[in-house]
Symmetry: C2
Subunit: 283 residues, 2 copies
């Protein structure tokens, strides 16, 4: 496994692979890898000739009051884990190489970035779309894989790729959970033992929602009321949003008649956790 820090070197490596007719897969990450990331790497290992994992804590997708500075980092461990699942190259650029002085270009996806996290994290998806467009141009992948935990991010990227005619296959990968069903996230490390117990309510609420639908409930309002009860907002738990929306456009749905996305963002202590589930109603 090779570690490349330079944008130019990464592009040259990608050009060489392309000239040799090799298929390139990209797994974009912000590092501090967990089993969710490793699952993405394993999923593309057999579909591509060269697997690149990017590790870059992208400053432009963090808001001014967010956790950019304290975002967890462990590059050495990330390297060992990546190598263990057959990654060929870790691409780990420096912020000053990605955003040099005079930098001024942004990719804006409009409609699907409005609801959900777009409401609470202004500018976040502009940062995400821009850095992913840059990574695509640097690594020149034939395919890129993203976890469905960041469902809206995946939607934004699919939209950008389709709209800008990027010649890249986007693969979504199901949420990977801890033994206790907490969705894997690098931010889980922020949780105390007590907070961790409360964090389990997110997935319980998702399951409860599907349970209500299985019993015949179709009204989003009723489902969301029950979701809020299960989340038990209080001293250490604050709901940022709990919404039921169309899985493709992320527009609000008042009824669940077929497939719907239930998306949650909840602060547990100072830690913002997200989780989601596709609800399915059988008619």
């Amino acid at each position: 496994m090779r570690i490349i820090n330079s944008v130019v070197e990464m592009q040259q490596q990608a050009d060489r692979w392309r000239a040799e007719g090799k298929k390139i897969a990209l797994v974009p990450t912000m590092g501090y890898l967990h089993e969710g990331h490793l699952s993405l790497m394993r999923a593309v290992r057999n579909r591509a000739d060269a697997v690149v994992a990017s590790i870059f804590v992208n400053p432009t997708q963090f808001g001014p009051n967010e956790d950019l500075e304290r975002y967890p980092r462990d590059f050495e461990r990330d390297g060992k884990l990546s190598e263990s699942v057959g990654v060929d190259v870790i691409f780990a650029p420096q912020p000053a190489d990605m955003y040099p002085s005079g930098y001024q270009t942004y990719v804006e996806v409009t409609d699907v970035t409005g609801p959900l996290c777009g409401g609470s994290r202004p500018g976040h998806f502009r940062g995400v779309a821009t850095v992913v467009a840059k990574l695509f141009n640097i690594v020149e992948p034939h395919m890129a894989i993203f976890g469905e935990k960041d469902y809206q991010q995946l939607t934004v990227i699919r939209r950008m790729v389709a709209d800008l005619n990027m010649n890249i296959e986007i693969i979504g990968y199901p949420i990977v959970r801890e033994h206790d069903d907490l969705a894997m996230s690098s931010r889980n490390v922020y949780l105390s033992a007590e907070q961790r117990g409360k964090a389990l309510r997110l997935n319980l609420a998702l399951k409860e929602a599907q349970g209500l639908i299985d019993k015949g409930e179709r009204q989003s309002d009723s489902i969301l009321a029950r979701v809020r009860e299960v989340l038990q907002p209080g001293e250490d738990v604050r709901i940022d949003y709990a919404q039921i929306c169309r899985p493709d456009t992320l527009e609000d749905l008042t009824r669940v008649d077929d497939r719907a996305l239930l998306a949650l963002a909840v602060y547990v202590g100072a830690t913002r956790l997200i989780d989601n589930r596709i609800l399915t109603a059988r008619s």
Copy 2:
């Protein structure tokens, strides 16, 4: 020469060329070709294995009160001219194929789109950057060539390519002029014989400015005052802007001490003409 209308077919053709190791050059145009366009095509003909000329009157770069509907078109003539200079493929997509229902992604270049045409044509460069990014992803060129008449457009595209790490060489080509030194433009066809005479003042003003500098003048204000005199604004001539700025960032310059861009936009009748010149002061 082949004519391709479908985005998917164009991308497949580009993929085949790439797989064969061929170098692809793109000449983006809005059609109604003139000698300026043909010069761009000839300039890349010997540098690339495959030359693609795109012909697309891009709706998103026209403002609501601009000339989208009456922009001149002559596809048959464009085809013959392109073939005569060795173009391999004309890519002529339909607006509905480029911007299907639900389209919502835009490339924004910020600082360099502010002055000059950015002031009088809000959204214009967003439309330009977005369509060029799309064309780059569809045609997958190794190089693309743009005329320096649209100096700010070339600056915006260079900035976008650098910022988004697009692996494409951008070539600027000097302004091509008519026998009477009017800068070639598809919009020149709008001019009456009398207006055409007045349109010549743009290039006269550019020459006059360099003449003043050769005589020792360095103050932008004095140079621009003389430029306005030469342009003689009046009944049929209205100055949109006449500015002296840095050739790289397009920021205003109060003095011309080395190289400076003198950029003009002037309405002659209802027709908006642009022209420019790099002024050089020898110390």
